[in-house]
């Protein structure tokens, strides 16, 4: 089957890539664009490890076809901050030592970043609800909650 051109904005850069029509956005990001931050946990939308922003909104990229992102804007964890200027959430996650195995963390950060962009000062309940679609099997949610709460105090509302 012929590959098709996917033209979209990826982490603020205009990007063209050839993809098969039957691959997911997650696979295109990982396999064709070598962005391995988004992870495949379940492949069925339950775990949130593949969370990226599509036009600023968090989505499960394992349930999006790559070509459905045509003309749209995608942000992955690689585009959330820079090594020399971490997003306040990344900074808080590092300082509080949130990650253990780290597999779920890119997805959690993207979900939390979308939450803070929409609601800069969420309540604890709102934070829990905002990351309810992200499963962690080792670190636990307590430190995540603490780090997101701390970052919410300083996160510029217009990031993510």
């Amino acid at each position: 089957m012929a590959k098709q051109v996917l033209s979209f904005t990826l982490n603020d850069s205009e990007t063209d890539v050839l993809v098969q029509p039957y691959v997911t956005l997650l696979d295109a990001l990982r396999e064709d664009l070598e962005l391995t931050g988004p992870k495949e946990g379940c492949g069925t939308g339950d775990c949130g490890a593949c969370t990226v922003h599509l036009d600023g909104k968090p989505v499960a990229s394992c349930l999006v076809l790559a070509l459905q992102a045509r003309g749209r804007s995608v942000r992955t964890i690689e585009g959330l901050g820079r090594f020399d200027a971490l997003h306040p959430l990344q900074d808080a996650f590092v300082r509080l030592g949130v990650p253990q195995c780290g597999f779920c963390i890119p997805g959690v950060l993207m979900a939390a970043a979308a939450l803070l962009a929409e609601n800069p000062h969420p309540s604890e309940e709102e934070i829990r609800y905002g990351i309810a679609g992200n499963l962690c099997r080792c670190t636990g949610y307590t430190k995540m909650l603490a780090a997101i709460t701390e970052a919410a105090g300083v996160a510029p509302a217009r990031r993510a």
Partner: protein, 288 residues
């Protein structure tokens, strides 16, 4: 996933044309949150897929002056959850949108996909049934309107022919003193499928119930209305006793099965509890 051809139409006519040309081997994809898991596990193997994401006409959610609400098939659960007008005028619908999956799912999941996938547990079906929504369907022979109560024909089956597309839902305006609520029971609060879902929608007039609509999810092969319970309420004041009677009649409308989510008996119990609770809240909301 098995390989497939992907069509990227820009309008409804192109969609319908492609569906008519390619026949029953073709599936449309909206949010993909039902379709892609079913394709990944091999349940569905379409040779071609038609992507609705480029069809802007399906994405409008608008209030019609004096005549209700039009909800495009591709409007997402998240948009329904957050829309200020839906929240104030049709809270049961907003509540059902807010319950679908997680935020990552709700940003993809569309109302059209929820209805066309036709799961008995589809959360947005009961409020739309209770609101007496009509479905606008486009096909090669033009458009037709189907009452949502005639839309579902079985588990994962609807009246749509393979070459037809759900375009939008027309939700009638509600009279003054109307109220509604949708509640579902799930063992987990987030990311779970309804064991039972109940939507109640009432309109009061001079202290009596002028109109009642009650719809149930996950207790029959399709989402259903509990018409005997509705009729028992109409023309009467909504006392606790009347609400209790309606709850008993709603249980009689249910034909639940026992499965890993709950036994038939537990489901009947939940129908009674949730019917009572949603009617009580509907009455409170109608008084506002």
């Amino acid at each position: 996933m098995r390989r497939f051809q992907l069509a990227l139409p820009r309008n409804i006519d192109e969609c319908v044309k492609f569906l008519a040309e390619r026949g029953p081997e073709t599936k449309v994809i909206a949010g993909g949150t039902d379709l892609l898991p079913q394709m990944k596990n091999g349940l569905l193997k379409p040779a071609a897929v038609v992507d609705l994401s480029g069809v802007a006409d399906l994405r409008t959610l608008r209030r019609q002056d004096g005549s209700g609400l039009r909800v495009g098939a591709s409007v997402t659960a998240r948009e329904i959850e957050r829309d200020a007008y839906v929240r104030s005028a049709y809270p049961a619908l907003a509540e059902s949108g807010a319950l679908v999956g997680s935020v990552q799912i709700r940003n993809l999941a569309t109302v059209g996909g929820n209805l066309c996938n036709a799961a008995p547990s589809a959360d947005m079906a009961p409020p739309l049934l209770a609101l007496e929504a009509e479905a606008v369907v486009a096909g090669p022979r033009g458009r037709r309107r189907v009452s949502l109560s005639d839309f579902f024909t079985g588990v994962r089956r609807t009246v749509l022919a393979p070459d037809e597309l759900l375009v939008e839902l027309i939700v009638p305006a509600l009279g003054p003193r109307s109220g509604g609520q949708y509640l579902r029971h799930t063992p987990r609060r987030e990311l779970d499928i309804a064991v039972v879902g109940v939507a109640s929608q009432i309109t009061m007039s001079d202290g009596v119930c002028a109109k009642a609509r009650i719809a149930l999810a996950a207790v029959a092969p399709t989402p259903i209305r509990a018409t005997a319970a509705e009729q028992a309420l109409e023309g009467r004041p909504l006392t606790a006793e009347q609400i209790g009677r309606a709850a008993t009649l709603a249980v009689e409308a249910a034909r639940p099965i026992s499965d890993q989510r709950g036994s038939a008996d537990f489901r009947r119990h939940l129908v009674a509890v949730l019917t009572r609770r949603t009617l009580t809240t509907a009455l409170e909301r109608a008084a506002r």
